[in-house]
Every structure is written in structure tokens, then in C-alpha cells.
């Protein structure tokens, strides 16, 4: 059963139709928040979830690569649920490969979606938060923005960029009571990790002090904490959630 928290927030999650984004949407709804999300396509999993919680969750088609669509998404959500209290920048694409031979258009796409699109969405949402003089932004970063991983140069650059933007925005917006933080997940038990070969997976587990891969719940718990008043004095920080593999 969904338990309603003391304060039910309106949360916008970018890219909430699958993977970690969908898990974030589920966790927020389970915690009693009203959640709007968008992505390029509605998935069967999200559609089913919306069917079970139509009063708490909504979906719109939107694309971070299409800045013009973002302001419409934000406007529609505010009409349905009211002002956005929390923005969770989750949507991202990854194109792996050795940079020297990557297609230039793939490099540009990763930067356009992960960084430019995310900044433009943040621009739209924080404009409204500034007038209300409160808000909360949580960027989903990654440990690849902190440590080097071969084959992920462009993706890593966007995640490191997101962490840098987190700190800059925290400085910019603290005065109007908008907190900006990021969470940086490590290896998670998701569809993505299923593609790891068993040997590589074991190697990761061996190198992780806590001796396992993370779960989506490890990440959503941190997000709910950062959204809460318990984190009222935390801004400009990147919380690494990786079982200690980068420590």
C-alpha cells in the first residue's frame, strides 16, 4: 500500500520509462509523491504502472534532444499537478566505444542529450522555482564521471559535467532556497549489468568493499533522503553510491 508522506511533492523525473528512471518513478509514487515523467516513448512497464496509480503518476512524450518540447512538457505537468517541487535529471544516453573511432555524430548526441538537454530542462524548471523561492534538483550522475572507464569518454565527460553543474547551480540558487545535489551510482543490478560477462561481473564484486552490485533501491533511498527535510542543509554535493568501489 502507498503511504503518503507528511509532505507530498510534485516531482519531475526525466527519462522515467525504463531502467533506473522507472525504478525512481516507482519509489517516489510508493512514497506518496506525485510524479510526472517523460521520455521519447512510453514503455509497457510504465504504462502498466500508470494504470495502477493514475492519480499519482503521469507520462508525456518529450525528448531532451528537442529543447522546444521541454517547455511544453513542464507547462503541461504544472497544469496537471501544480508547481514542480523536485526535478530529477535522470535521462541520459550512452554510446560506448573507443573515442578515436567513434562517429562524431554519436559524440555530439551524447553531449546534446545528457548535458545540453539536461541543462535546458533545469533552466525551465528552476525559473519557476526561483519565483517560489524553494526547490530541489537531483542530478543522476555516475562513478564514470569520477574514475576513468575505457570506452566511455563522451558519456563520462557528460557525467563529470553534470557534477560540475551541480556545484555551480548550488552556488547560484542557494540564496533562493533551491538545493542542487547529485547521486553517482556505481554498478547496479539492472538490465545493463545483465550484459556483463560472468568473469567481469565477479571482478567488479571482488573489487567492491561491500561485496555486491548495487540495487535500484540503494539509489532511490538516497534520492528520497536528498529530497527530504533531513537533507535541508545539503547542497552542491555528489553522493557516490557504489559499495565503495571508487574509494
Amino acid at each position: 500500500m502507498t503511504s503518503i508522506p507528511d509532505k507530498s511533492s510534485v516531482v519531475l523525473v526525466s527519462g522515467g520509462s525504463r531502467g533506473l528512471g522507472l525504478e525512481i518513478v516507482r519509489a517516489l509514487v510508493d512514497a506518496g509523491h506525485r510524479v510526472a515523467t517523460f521520455s521519447r516513448q512510453l514503455t509497457a512497464e510504465l504504462d502498466e504502472f500508470i494504470g495502477q496509480h493514475s492519480d499519482l503518476v503521469s507520462f508525456r512524450v518529450g525528448d531532451l534532444a528537442d529543447p522546444d518540447s521541454l517547455e511544453g512538457v513542464v507547462r503541461d505537468i504544472e497544469v496537471q499537478f501544480g508547481p514542480i517541487d523536485v526535478l530529477i535529471n535522470n535521462a541520459a544516453v550512452a554510446r560506448d566505444g573507443i573515442l578515436s573511432v567513434m562517429r562524431p555524430q554519436d559524440i555530439e548526441e551524447v553531449i546534446r542529450i545528457n548535458l545540453t538537454g539536461t541543462l535546458l530542462l533545469t533552466r525551465s524548471v528552476t525559473r519557476k522555482m526561483m519565483l517560489r523561492r524553494r526547490g530541489n534538483v537531483i542530478n543522476i550522475s555516475s562513478i564514470v564521471g569520477i574514475r576513468g572507464y575505457r570506452g566511455l569518454a563522451s558519456y563520462s565527460a557528460t557525467k563529470a559535467g553534470l557534477d560540475a553543474a551541480t556545484r555551480a547551480l548550488a552556488r547560484e540558487l542557494g540564496e533562493v532556497n533551491i538545493r542542487v545535489n547529485s547521486v553517482a551510482p556505481g554498478y547496479l543490478e539492472t538490465n545493463m549489468s545483465e550484459s556483463l560477462d560472468p568473469e567481469h561481473r565477479q571482478q567488479i564484486v571482488r573489487r567492491t568493499p561491500l561485496g555486491r552490485l548495487g540495487t535500484p533501491g540503494d539509489i532511490t533511498g538516497a534520492i528520497l533522503f536528498l529530497m527530504s527535510d533531513q537533507a535541508a542543509f545539503i547542497t552542491g554535493q555528489s553522493l557516490v553510491i557504489d559499495g565503495g568501489i571508487t574509494c
Binding site: 525559473r127 526561483m130 519565483l131 523561492r133 547560484e172 540558487l173 540564496e175 533562493v176
Partner: protein
């Protein structure tokens, strides 16, 4: 909207923002006030708030395409909004 009305609304938005950020109402702002922090008391975040507030009120944001460089006085801001509103109508 007449030029005088536009001036009033822009000055009101500036005064509201100063009041919010300083906690003191009644700041002296005129059409000839200079925009630098020492004169009017708003920092870059304050001016950003003025711009967002004016977009909500007037439905226009000249700074989507225009730079803030070269703006010296409140009158310069009114000129910019007037031009943008005329283009929109």
C-alpha cells in the same frame, strides 16, 4: 500597454525582488536608476529573478535572444521589453 505602464511594471518587479532579497520594502528605483549592484542592490541572481518575474507577468523574455551586456539603466531595460512586446504583437 503604454510606455508609462511598462515602466511602472518593470520598476515594480525590480522593487519586489529587492524587497524579497533584502527583506526591506520601499527601495528607491526610478527610470534613470543604474543597474550595477552598488546602485540598485541586485546581484546577478536578483536580476535573473526580475527577468523570470517579468516573463510571468508580461509573457515576454527579451533575454532569450538578447545579451544583458551594454544595459546601463532601467530605461534601457524598458526599451528592450518594449521592442520585444512590439515584435510579439
Amino acid at each position: 500597454m503604454t510606455r508609462a505602464e511598462l515602466e511602472q511594471r518593470i520598476i515594480a518587479a525590480i522593487k519586489s525582488t529587492i524587497a524579497e532579497s533584502t527583506g526591506k520594502a520601499g527601495a528607491a528605483v526610478t527610470i534613470d536608476s543604474k543597474l550595477d549592484r552598488g546602485s540598485i542592490g541586485l546581484d546577478s541572481l536578483g536580476w535573473a529573478t526580475v527577468i523570470v518575474r517579468l516573463e510571468a507577468e508580461l509573457g515576454a523574455d527579451p533575454f532569450r535572444t538578447e545579451s544583458t551586456r551594454g544595459l546601463q539603466t532601467v530605461s534601457d531595460i524598458v526599451d528592450l521589453y518594449q521592442k520585444t512586446l512590439e515584435t510579439q504583437s
